[in-house]
């Protein structure tokens, strides 16, 4: 949370930013750190796409219960993204299939892409930040 609402770098240039999430949620700190960066970036009014691929799709699993490992359940925070005007969420079919998952297993609405569609989405970005 920040009091510097509607912060703007003054240039008015909107770039295409992709945040690429490829790690499972709790084994490393990447997923949580990536999510925090995305929430902060939302203040800059850029064209943000959020991609979950490889083990990153596990970040969006429904039914997560972290009481037993005594860490915060930040899977709930992905549902706040819409309120931050971050509405472009993508996963790729290949990563879901390799894990026996479907979009119904995920906690938020996502667009499921084929490999060539994902490849094109990546290619058209100005900036790709990987977690």
């Amino acid at each position: 949370m920040s009091d510097m609402d509607d912060m703007d770098d003054g240039s008015g240039i909107i770039k295409k930013f992709m945040f690429l999430n490829r790690k499972a949620p709790h084994g490393t700190v990447y997923a949580l750190e990536g999510l925090e960066v995305v929430l902060i970036t939302a203040a800059f009014d850029q064209d943000v796409s959020l991609v979950f691929t490889d083990d990153g799709v596990y970040q969006l699993m429904k039914g997560i219960d972290t009481k037993g490992i005594e860490v915060k359940d930040f899977s709930k925070t992905y549902r706040a993204l819409e309120g931050y005007d971050i509405e472009k969420l993508y996963v790729d079919r290949t990563s879901l299939d390799a894990r026996g998952l479907t979009e119904d297993d995920l906690i938020v609405d996502v667009t499921v892409l084929a490999d060539d569609e994902m490849a094109n989405l990546m290619a058209e970005q100005d900036v790709v930040i990987s977690f």
Partner: protein
Amino acid sequence: MPMVNIAGKEVEVDEEGYLVDLSQWNEDIAKYMAVEEKVELTDAHWEVVNFLREYYAEYQIAPAVRVLTKAIGKKLGPEKGNNKYLYELFPYGPAKQACKIAGLPKPTGCI
């Protein structure tokens, strides 16, 4: 970290006075934090504080002010969903003050 005694209960706070364990929160703690922040709690303040607690319970984060303003406007009406209204209630910033009173962790993302 420092301990403070609030209504006969020992409560841990961080160096800036934020509650460390938000499950300990109760109205006495909110009132204590409000005195610390020099905010006189009215029903209008409670409305925002309770809203923040509900938001945190649902999403596990304290919202950015921009997001808080929009969400409050949606839930409580446009006359409340604006910066002027929220800053009148919490002059040193709804992020900083209302979160502290609501027992939420110190706002992150303030660069």
